[in-house]
């Protein structure tokens, strides 16, 4: 797979034309919802004329279609925003453009990023880069697949409960979910405000670090952004204490997945790091916490899609209630409605204390358990998902089974920790398997330097 360096100091127009051609050749994967061809070529020409410079001058990339960006509608893979053209761009996109990067298209996702397979896209699923009968993972499935198919060297995604890490694992690329607050959420369609993070897919850890270095930083438009802290580390880390989370390695987890993770642990040991089995007992409760807190926030964040000011408005309605009801019915997919229903329920008067507040208290316990482990360990590792990419349609009829696939990614999301997914080989059937590296808040660059140091081993 190509790296960012392969695109630097080349003819930018050619870079973009090649990427667009590859995108068209790979239409059958349905990884992209739109191409921003005209704008991309304009920008490429400006780069070639020397009018746009920067660390990513002429490098093509793709953004998940829940990022507001010029050149194509921002649909969030929903009928609700099918023809919504953004009047401004996400901070992350602006920062990449300021370094000369060129967005060539917008990637498919589960509608409003609700899902873990990209099968909830209102415009049809994205297929796995390695096996077209399998899911891309999600919700940032399209971004993972365009990176894995080598259409672009990196692509932006958003990760609320695993939406970057899991598709990275399913398609064999690097995926970074940073510390909560590292990258501005401004201009990204909100899902769950307290766990939404913006990150990247790349073909290698060093490229991922470069992208994170560019898109991270305090943004006056997002009050939850942290003061700038991300600084790329080029040298390999000194010997670390690493904990392998044993609850993630239970027999229910696919044998191939456990084998690859164990092998990665062995390689870490060989490289001089200390590996111990550690326990995070509260893990068994994290899905329950997640599927209360996140739907609650979703029900709130999706309330603005009412058909009044923009987006889908149902025709032929007689009353205001019908306008709301039908517009939302037509604009949202089943999974959106399911989460809005759950969220509205747990926030209802009389249930708020029993569900939402309880879940928030449990979340504090989870954070405490992580902090306890970080007193001893620098890094925690485990699988990203219990299985490699599953078959298209395999889990669609069973939302609970679909939610269970998130069990290893939601803990870092709820605790706001950085977590990355790095390729760790394949299953016996040849499907990619990722290993997850988690660290303390703000240890993002260290995790990437560790991943980079292990890439050649």
């Amino acid at each position: 797979m190509s790296t960012i360096a392969d695109f630097i100091n080349k003819n930018a127009r050619q870079n973009v034309l090649d990427a667009l051609a590859k995108a068209k050749d790979n239409e059958s994967y349905h990884a992209l919802l739109s191409l921003t061809e005209a704008r991309a070529l304009e920008r490429a020409d400006a780069v070639d004329r020397g009018e746009i410079t920067g660390r990513l001058a002429g490098v093509p990339f793709v953004v998940k279609d829940n990022f507001l960006a010029y050149g194509a509608p921002t649909t969030a893979a929903s009928k609700m925003l099918e023809s919504f053209n953004a009047p401004l761009q996400a901070t992350a996109v602006e920062k990449l453009e300021a370094e000369g990067a060129i967005c060539i298209g917008k990637a498919n996702l589960d509608a409003f990023a609700h899902g873990g397979s990209t099968e909830n896209s209102a415009f049809g699923p994205t297929k796995n880069a390695i096996d077209q009968t399998r899911v891309a993972g999600g919700s940032s499935g399209g971004s993972a697949v365009v990176t894995a198919l080598d259409i672009v060297p990196f692509a932006l995604g958003s990760d609320t409960g695993g939406s970057i890490r899991q598709p990275a694992s399913f398609n064999g690329v690097v995926g970074v979910k940073p510390t909560y607050g590292t990258v501005s959420r401004y201009g990204v369609v909100a899902m769950a405000s307290s766990t939404d993070t913006i990150g990247t897919f790349a073909t290698n850890a060093a490229d991922a670090a470069l992208i994170m270095d560019i898109i991270s930083g305090r943004d006056s438009k997002d009050m939850t952004t942290l003061p700038d802290f991300f600084a790329t580390i080029t040298e390999a880390p000194a010997p670390l204490k690493i904990g392998l989370i044993k609850e993630f390695m239970s027999p229910e987890v696919d044998q191939d997945v456990r084998d690859r993770v164990n092998e990665y642990a062995d390689k870490l040991k060989t490289a001089g790091h200390q590996i111990d089995d550690v326990s995070l007992p509260i893990v068994s409760l994290t899905l329950a916490m997640y599927y209360i807190i996140v739907p609650a926030e979703i029900s709130s964040n999706l309330a603005r899609y009412d058909g009044i000011r923009y987006g889908r408005r149902s025709q032929g309605v007689q009353t205001l209630a019908q306008l709301y009801g039908r517009s939302r019915d037509e604009g949202f997919v089943t999974e959106n409605k399911r989460r809005i229903m759950i969220g509205s329920y747990v926030l209802s008067s009389g249930f708020f204390d029993a569900y939402y507040l309880q879940a928030q208290k449990a979340r504090t316990l989870l954070i405490n358990e992580f902090n306890e482990l970080f007193k001893t360990y620098d890094v925690l590792i485990g699988p990203v998902a219990p299985t490699p990419a599953f078959l298209l349609g395999e889990n669609t009829g069973d939302p609970i089974k679909m939610y269970l696939a998130d069990i290893m990614t939601v803990p870092a999301s709820l605790a706001g920790l950085p977590a990355i997914s790095v390729p760790a080989g394949t299953s016996t059937a040849g499907l990619p398997i990722g290993v997850q590296l988690m660290g303390q808040r703000r240890s993002d660059a260290m995790l990437l330097s560790l991943a980079e140091s292990m890439e050649q081993k």
Binding site: A190, M223, Y310, F352, Y356
Partner: protein, 485 residues
């Protein structure tokens, strides 16, 4: 109609929620202009107020500072940690599908307002809390369609929630009026009542005198003048008494006030109440305030009405003067500066002049700005001293005051120019007195005075004043007349 005797059998209990629009430059969570009074619909709206996808709130620190000042005016505590929550409901004027407010951890806690009534008594109303929140937009209905204007969406407000400590319409009016003074003096709001800068929701219930439990309350929403607060409370009291006397129940409901008809009418009952599904707003970090920071901001709050009342009561100002002076913050501050740099008598004298400039009715619809030229404080003191020392008589003093407010000139300059310096030279006045007494027109008065009708001396003094073009010292003139007769 219910007779007074029946009304006497009941007590009323009133609590008031007051929305105060904060005098910030920009909105609570966006950089859009906070003054939309003259703007065309939907022109003072940015993507955040519009609720575009991906937009995030950025808390306006100026609004927080104004809330901290409001807390001082309300004798409240400022929370060291306060937070924003989301209140959900669907309505076309609510762009995000929720209102950002402070449900669980408001910034202002407790406090009280001592509101003076017109009869000279004072009602103390405790404050439960006050929270920050954003306003919604506006929906206007036309036949079979409605139009949305989001100019007001995102305007910063504080909602001040009182305890049910009010028991008469007059006290309700007094509380509303005093809140208005406190908030305008503290600079929290511009106090433009016509444009809804302060809006009152009056919760009222009645119960037979002596009853231990409160009755079911009705809430009259969106009152925007002190008079309507009083009238709505009066009307609602009568309506509820009538209802109970007829043997009917009071329904918990929201009622509107029709200013033209001077009556309340039902808008929606509690059965229609929505479940707002409140939740913490994760997009806005908690407001964390240290004591030192709070003290620093509150130190910038100027003197408030209770301070002036206390000072002036002690200095012997009468209530009418105090009330009139407090109608305008700039006049109140001026009089207090004069009192401190001269003395209470001079200050009172200047106060009387200002009393003539302001009338209470003016204050019903907004802040009172007494229009004066830029007059130096010491000019007012000089003018009052001139009158006190007999250099100007009181009519001349009024004239100089009026002219001084137009031109800003020194009072001596004006008095000279208008030729108003009082003549206290006995010889000069004696000549005029002789002239007046010799005038045949005075003959009758002279006869009457000699006959012991002392009242007519006023007529003779008046003649002297007239002949002297108002400059004669009237006391001296009187003395000279008496000497001659």
């Amino acid at each position: 109609m219910i007779d007074e005797e029946t009304l006497q059998k009941y007590d009323m209990t009133i609590g008031i929620e007051c929305h105060v629009q904060l005098a910030t430059t920009t909105k609570l969570f966006s950089g859009a202009d906070n003054d939309a009074r003259e703007a065309a619909p939907n022109t003072v709206v940015n993507p955040i107020d519009f609720g575009l996808p991906g937009m995030l709130p950025v808390l306006n620190r100026e609004a927080v500072n104004l809330a901290i000042k409001a807390g001082k005016a309300l004798n409240s505590e400022i929370a060291h940690v306060s937070r924003f929550d989301r209140k959900h409901y669907f309505y076309p004027d609510l762009p995000k599908g929720y209102q950002t407010t402070q449900m669980y951890h408001p910034i202002i806690i407790g406090g009280h307002v001592d509101a003076p009534l017109e009869d000279g008594t004072t009602v103390t109303v405790r404050i439960h809390h006050a929270h920050m929140e954003e306003d919604a937009g506006k929906l206007t209905h036309f036949g079979d369609y409605s139009l949305v204007d989001l100019n007001r969406a995102g305007t910063p407000l504080i909602e001040i929630v009182s305890e049910p400590d009010i028991h008469s319409p007059a006290a309700a009016k007094a509380y509303a009026t005093e809140l208005y003074r406190l908030m305008t003096y503290a600079g929290v709001t511009n106090g433009d009542l016509y444009h809804g800068n302060m809006r009152f929701d009056v919760n009222i219930s009645i119960a037979p005198k002596g009853a231990l439990e409160l009755g079911t309350r009705a809430e009259v929403k969106n009152l925007n003048s002190f008079r309507s607060v009083e009238r709505a409370a009066e009307h609602e009291f009568r309506r509820q008494v009538e209802q109970l006397e007829k043997g009917e129940r009071i329904v918990q409901e929201t009622r509107g006030w029709d200013d033209a008809k001077q009556k309340t009418s039902s808008q929606r009952s509690k059965e229609d109440a929505q479940d707002y599904r409140y939740m913490p707003d994760a997009d806005i970090p908690p407001i964390v305030l240290e004591d030192a920071e709070i003290a620093e901001i509150q130190a910038t709050v100027p003197h408030l009405p209770p301070y002036f009342r206390a000072q002036w009561n002690e200095a012997g100002f009468n209530k009418d003067i105090i009330d009139a002076l407090l109608l305008s913050q700039s006049s109140a501050e001026l009089i207090e500066r004069i009192r401190l740099s001269s003395d209470a008598d001079i200050a009172k004298r200047v106060g009387f002049w200002f009393l003539k400039l302001v009338s209470k009715d003016d204050a019903e619809d907004g802040p009172l700005r007494v229009a004066t030229a830029d007059v130096a404080d010491n000019y007012y003191i000089e003018l009052a001293t001139m009158v006190q020392d007999g250099k100007l008589n009181s009519n001349a003093g009024d004239a100089v005051f009026e002219e001084m407010n137009k031109t800003g000139e020194a009072p001596t300059v004006i008095a000279e120019r208008l030729n108003l310096i009082q003549v206290s030279d006995e010889g000069a006045i004696a000549a005029i007195v002789d002239e007046v007494l010799a005038d045949p027109a005075s003959a009758q008065a002279v006869t009457d005075l000699r006959a012991g009708n002392d009242k007519v001396i006023g007529f003779l003094v008046g003649q002297v004043m007239k002949k002297s073009q108002g400059k004669a010292n009237p006391a001296l003139a009187q003395k000279l007349i008496r000497e001659r007769l």
